[in-house]
Symmetry: D3
Subunit: 135 residues, 6 copies
């Protein structure tokens, strides 16, 4: 157990102009006054930071799916992959967007069940039914 | 590449009473007249078949989350795990529940992004921010 | 690193009748006088708690495979998925059921080797030999 | 879907002395007269072939765990990882070592359940109970 | 086994201006005259197509790591995740960039070994040595 | 969160001759005077310790790929699998072999992108293009 990031987080005060511009956009978009550690470690590569933030901002914006549904999907993937940081950060985001305890527990139930039946299918290898074929 | 299941699918005609009862409930619940291969291979163990079906039925029923959102979450997990059968079957289910092309593509975008940032976090190991701690 | 669960564990004293009934059954089945944290967090959704416990109890009961073999399989999956909580809890369970150090280390050796050859196969993609086809 | 290996399988007749020696040992150990495709693709790197075979032979030999239990563990890992080739080959091996249909289905039930509870734990993050700490 | 994509691939002739612009850039960057199926399915969401292509182009460009090393890393991840399409496409790309058979087999050897020791560590849980802590 | 290994690390002083011989070879090969915890937990099974060490030594030796490239691949797999111990230990090894911050961040960018496109392919299932088929 370490608890230390593999690169030193870049604080706002120590950041260059390129990184600060991304940090400013993160805080403006999220209406917060702080930057979480995920972005601070990405900041070691300003191009990676900028691309990742702009992609996340675009992907998580309202569209055919609403922002809370998108957070639920993010949590589902993070729990499946066992990403600790992502589980804490996206659960916090989902709660901030109104996720109730009941929704969170149902989400977990679906994630658990999907992981179970995925392995039953991967272990028993039923052929894909013709009825499921895309048109 | 095989394409054959690891146990012979159990057809309705060849099934015992216990299995038929589950098959009947699947068709009644889904308002369909056929059973997909996933359940036919589980039927080699009627207890496993019954428990898995009853769990899926309970988990996927409307609740704090609506059935389409639950299907989207199922697809997200299945794509993350690379389960081919599950991807085809749950995408078909989601389309039957009204998933549009635009929703499907946005779902994929979120799943892709979550898998990317999960690994950036797992590789760089930023500490969980105190602000993300559950109360 | 957080160390706090994403929902508050539900203690026996604070639990409702439905949850207490499950807790009582867990302690009776396991002949212990305490409930581990996994069940306490599931208890936020009494239906999820009850279904998961009853499924685990049914799956892990003696059958065509003995209980220790089942625990070894549980550890194999948990180590493959990198689930920390599960690794600690099921290793403790397996030891309580008599797993020796030698058995544990051999289990790890098989798990390691399977994870290695799984990726050699997934990277080199040999076709499934006709001799391995199920009859 | 391709179905072709990413390197051409090396047939016995075309193999050099180093590879043939491994192939001979595989057939002698397994009391068979053919080599499966997994080894034939590894044979492009005779050092990798030899090390992998010798490791597998050592790991899968009878020890504190019996050979059938080891095959069950191999299948559990392969189904969890979704390795198609490995699922077919190790299920065939387990059947050759006497695995019954009932044992196979119970194995799948445990694998499914472990994958489910792994994600419930990874998503809800209960702290490891002190009682589970190794002595 | 299906073999059909879950959305119909978008051919150049049927594509709108936004998609054609990306297709043109892919072909110009790669000096080829065809588009592979991965991009054709992404094209159902022109924004996703454009973002993903521009990210891949940026990430895979020469930098502190050379393009062949980047392809090797891509294959390592794809084999670890068991992504069939990605394994075929990135192995083809790596060969086009000069990957030899010997390099490919060594890559597989490292991927296999890493997957093995990852699970030995995840199953046995050695604490991170202070010497490995980042400064 | 535990932080304790599931078997007690075996210190040099307490080790038998077989284990000491491996420890000596590790230190001689790496030109260090200490043994990291990974090997100390494997030492509970001297055969597993010896085989794993000899395999790692062989696989990571200079060959068609140079040692730093091999460490990058090891990190890519470890981040994909979410193995905390492995991420810290192999990042430290890569830095000792000269990995720069810029190389590390580009590695992370490729790992992230590969994990993203792996899931886009696994979710949308484009068929493998004939042009990617191995000759």
């Amino acid at each position: 157990m370490s608890g230390k990031a593999l690169v030193e987080p870049v604080e706002y005060e120590a950041a260059g102009a390129e990184v600060r511009a991304v940090y400013d956009d993160i805080m403006a978009t999220r209406k917060t006054d702080w930057i979480n550690n995920f972005w601070k470690v990405l900041a070691h590569d300003p191009v990676l930071l900028k691309r990742t933030w702009e992609s996340v901002r675009e992907v998580m914006a309202p569209g055919a799916l609403d922002p809370l549904t998108k957070e639920l999907i993010y949590i589902a993937v993070s729990a499946t992959n066992g990403c600790e940081y992502c589980t804490y950060s996206h659960t916090a985001s989902a709660r901030a967007k109104g996720m109730s305890d009941a929704q969170f527990m149902e989400l977990m139930a679906v994630v658990g069940m999907a992981n179970e039946t995925n392995r039953l299918a991967n272990g028993l290898r039923p052929p894909v039914d013709p009825q499921f074929e895309p048109r």
